[in-house]
Symmetry: C2
Amino acid sequence: MNFNAITIKDIARELGLSISTVSKALSDSYEISEKTKKLVNDYATQNNYSPNPIAKSLKQGHSKSIGIVVSTIDNSFFSQVINGIESVAYNKGYNIIITQTHESYDLEMRNIKHLTFRSIDGMLISLSAETPDIEHLRVLQKKGFPIVFFDRVSGDIDTHKVIADNFNGAYDGTTHLLNSGYKRVAHVTSSPNLSITAERLAGYKKALEDNGIEYNANYVRYCLHGGRDLNEIETALNDLLAMYERPDAIFTASDRITTTTLALLHRLKIKIPDEVALLGFTNTKLAEILNPSLSSLFQPGFEIGKTAMEMLIGLIESKHPVTEYETKILPTQLVIRNSSMPVPVTGV
Amino acid sequence: MNFNAITIKDIARELGLSISTVSKALSDSYEISEKTKKLVNDYATQNNYSPNPIAKSLKQGHSKSIGIVVSTIDNSFFSQVINGIESVAYNKGYNIIITQTHESYDLEMRNIKHLTFRSIDGMLISLSAETPDIEHLRVLQKKGFPIVFFDRVSGDIDTHKVIADNFNGAYDGTTHLLNSGYKRVAHVTSSPNLSITAERLAGYKKALEDNGIEYNANYVRYCLHGGRDLNEIETALNDLLAMYERPDAIFTASDRITTTTLALLHRLKIKIPDEVALLGFTNTKLAEILNPSLSSLFQPGFEIGKTAMEMLIGLIESKHPVTEYETKILPTQLVIRNSSMPVPVTGV
DNA sequence: TTGTACGCGTTATCAC
DNA sequence: GTGATAACGCGTACAA
């Protein structure tokens, strides 16, 4: 396993010192003379010694690695979150172990068990869409195991969570559409099980209310599989477009739903925004480039990952048990595009 | 760290047995009586004991975890590869540790060092586009450290690699365009440093040759940053479209280049395939949905990851040092689409 | 059939 | 300023 086979023992033998002296020299202990330190350190660097992290972990009682549970990595939002997590993990010397639930409750439980058996120091989790209750997480948390929830959180547990400001995002998005002159704004959203869905719906409703427009439940369509099932969205769109009072704008609630809606409208040869306007949450820059008239709510995946990881490290490294749960809210950026303006794009 | 705090020691004390008896009972040793085994196992499961993997690693000399180095996880191809890797890793009890180079040579070296210091059992790597030489990997390999290269490999080293059949993919793609009646097929590709670029170019050239069409170097454009820099591709396209003998088809060489080209042509209001046909390597189903007339070469990311991981496990778990290097080639699937046909899509 | 003793590589405590 | 010893949790010769 260790192909830099040199250990603290080797260098002790080679230098005619004791193991503990070498260990202390390496950790720059005050009780070791400067010349011994130099001797040891020089030898160590020359033979590129590196401490065996496994032995270190066994001794110190932590593994310097954390587990991540997401639905799937093959999703712009989550890969951006992981990017954010990695950026701080790397600097703090933590390894990340990624597992995917593929939206299955069963897989979620297996992964969590697997991760805890792997003796990780903490966990970052975004619930699977299927997950009905979070008893399995609550017991862990009760034991004092550090967990931070992000994005897909549950209202059933008071704990550390990092989420986008979905309410205000949806509020801003809907308001933008209304301010642009659209009167009948539909909302295509994901599974009603998820807290993010409720928050976004609330923001949408509040915006309607504040603009004196009556809420119409027929304008809201749920897609249980959140964009993974094309037919679901297709049905929703067909229903909406066939209505007598056909919506003049659609507000979509997640990356996959947004891009799929964009694609479907494209296939149906519906012109955006002439026939129907489209504004949605997204992480796929491609969607914006393809259709500059598509304004979007950019989900700050990177920032969410970064913040969640920082919070988790705080939990792990704090000596005192954490008693106060805080919820950190990050802003969702509303990116306003205008079809007559050039689109500032830096990359895909 | 271990919140299932129970150890083999606890259960020995509790049951009035010795530690080694418990250990043996747990591993179903033949020298332990059935009743003792049952006693121990029952107690273990009831108190959901699980062996500390760190102690196990230290003892057994392997960590049951492998390292992955990719340019960026935020890329359909690589996240699909990782999906494939994870699928077999999970079954075999391996953990995966993911690191990203962001195409930087420096970061690649740091990550590799970081991973080896973390005492992983093996490594899966796709070279960064910047990487000029692979001396740092060759030394590891010389020591007998298990490494499998995938996708972005180097010709400078004889080792285990898993790649798509880029030559035949490019050959098939180009041939398909030529058979469809296009005469002037341009090729927009990535950095000439990468082996995949050379292979694809070779396939493209051979297809031209076999169809009696002369190779025109002006029709080939390199994008050093492989789609990360929009301007590069924009320039390439503008150049091509401004030529006197303007290409009537474009063959793009990577996921990012394909989607970016699609987006740019869209913005330039160039009709596909009427004004210029487009066929490219891709992993983003969105591109196909948006433009059903876009035929594509689907990069088998999942299969590549799966195969690479299987190969790596073979390397790790083989008792005998591996002397024979084999290169496994996977087919690239050509997905033919026709604008007059309905597009069979199952998800985005 | 069960128990004892040692080692994996490291750090921490204590004695010299 | 340096070195011996114990301990982290586990597996395994070897002894009983």
